[in-house]
Amino acid sequence: MALSSVKNDEKTITRKLWSVSKKLLIYLLLIFITLFMLGPFIWLLSTALKSGGENIFQYPPKLIPDQVTFTNFVKVMETFPFWRYLFNSTIVTVLTVIFNVLFCSLAAYPLARMYFKGKNIIFILILSTMMIPFQLLMIPIYIMSLNLGLGNTYAGMVLPHITTAFGVFLMRQAFTVIPKELDESARIDGANSFQIWFRILMPLVKPSMVTLAIFTFISAWGDFLWPLIIVSDQDMYTLPLGLNMLSGTFTSDWRLIAAGAIISMIPVVLFFLFLQRYFISGVMKGAVKG
């Protein structure tokens, strides 16, 4: 009796030991990958915090600065119109997200819930735009935008991205699963199509709207190629453009480039941390549906 209980104790101990060491291994692995994912940023931060007296090119590299200083941040804020660029990025992103969600949901509504001539053709045409790379279109859009006087304007940056096939598709899927009886009873109560769309259906597809908003946000905020083409006036630069110019002008002083990069990272990282639950579930949903 006693012997078997000792054996059992041993068993549970080895099992516990195994599960603890397994957990430890998992954490070690997670920390190692985190270092790989965040390492470049951490090193950038360490460079930005090093004072002018410190040799940033010393070998072996030093992660912890001798003396932490914020002068690089102050200096770069003086030369780098961070607030202006942040403002431009925010305007462009917010407008792109709002119009994209609006136009895609408008177009998705009849495609999901009405019968009309040419419906399938229109839907297929919209979907087919997914296959056309923007890099083919950028030259004609650039020429057209210049002719329309859209160079260096927010409209010029925003317009090409405010309807996407992905968005129409995502919203259509969301509208399709809502029971049709809802429309009918609303219609009996005297609502017109627009009211049904806005008052009844839109509140029901909020999760899909958030998904689309997040996808649009990531691509609009990080967009570089199109602003690079359409914007030549530095006052209209978005953060990525401004930062790219910064790294061109200060090639001699890496502390300032690093400080500028860190500063321009802050808004989007804060935004992400604030909404991370939605970001992650948004991507998950987009993957399953798209």
């Binding site: 735009t129 030259i139 004609p140 570089f224 930062l243 998950m284 993957a287």
Partner: protein
């Protein structure tokens, strides 16, 4: 009654105007431009297929095409396989897991310019990477990762992979979480071990997501531009120049709009092929909701 019939079209108008003006019209315009010589100053002159003929004889075009394929071959498998392991790793109910998920996702939300600057710094001759490799004993002399023709393209590829890992990890996480847990329970009752569960349940159920990720990552690898622009500028000696970078410089630095459009049409054909494979595969595997 007539208004009723118009309603669906009214809802479609804003979106269709945008898609028409910024996709269909430019698409036709691009094809037309590819048949012309156009430098933004003089009017476009029709030259037939001359741009295409010139492209085929342009060594630089072939090199950028080659580099783009190297990119595809290098980046896509990494982005298809590594995120599966990451997803399995973060799909556990342990303390602090949401911190790690977020940490892995941060490169996804930061702009490529910041990422490029951060990695530029890692790749410097006196940078972190050379030091780490020297400590481990892999290299004895520091390497100029972005300034050497033999390493620049690969160095940039690493950044693309690093930045995409978190995104595809989340897609796989969605896949893992969509597998009903009673499947595993039933398997356990039938006496299946861990390895059998992985090979018989997890991998087959994850296949549709593997396909989605491989198509998404290959289409985006076809179009890679920012990393190159920010980190190497296509150099040294065009060794890291990709097709889109080539289109960009031909169009906006050299103002060869017609010629660049022809290269754009070729890019379109390649992405079209990838997309058709995509549709075929997705159509077959209807289990993607």
């Amino acid at each position: 009654m007539k208004r009723q019939k118009l309603t669906p079209y009214l809802f479609l108008i804003p979106g269709c105007i945008i898609l028409g003006a910024f996709i269909f019209y430019p698409m036709l315009q691009a094809i037309w431009l590819s048949l012309t010589e156009f430098n933004m100053i003089e009017d476009a002159t029709f030259i037939g297929l001359e741009n295409y003929e010139n492209l085929l004889q342009d060594d630089l075009f072939w090199q950028t095409l080659m580099n783009t394929f190297i990119y595809l071959i290098g980046v896509v498998p990494a982005l298809v396989i590594i995120p599966i392991f990451l997803a399995v790793l973060v799909n556990q109910n342990i303390k602090g897991i949401s911190f790690f998920r977020s940490a892995f996702f941060i490169p996804v939300v930061t702009s490529l310019v910041v990422a490029g600057i951060a990695w530029d710094w890692v790749y410097k001759e006196h940078g972190l990477l050379n030091y780490a490799l020297e400590v481990v004993g892999i290299i004895t002399e520091p390497i100029g990762w972005l300034t050497s023709t033999s390493t620049a393209l690969f160095a940039v590829m690493v950044v693309t992979v690093w930045k995409g890992l978190g995104y595809y990890m989340i897609i796989y996480l969605a896949g893992l979480q969509s597998i009903p847990s009673d499947l595993y329970e039933a398997a356990k009752i039938d006496g299946a071990n861990w390895w059998q569960q992985v090979t018989r349940i997890t991998i087959p159920m994850l296949m549709p997501f593997v396909l989605v990720v491989s198509i998404m990552s290959s289409i985006s690898a076809m179009k890679v531009f920012e990393e190159i622009y920010v980190m190497t500028g296509g150099g040294p000696l065009h060794s890291s120049e990709t097709l889109v970078f080539y289109i960009y410089t031909e169009a906006f630095s050299n103002l060869n709009m017609g010629y660049a459009s022809a290269a754009g049409v070729i890019l379109f054909i390649f992405t079209l092929i990838l997309s058709i494979i995509n549709l075929k595969v997705m159509g077959k595997k209807g289990n993607i909701r």
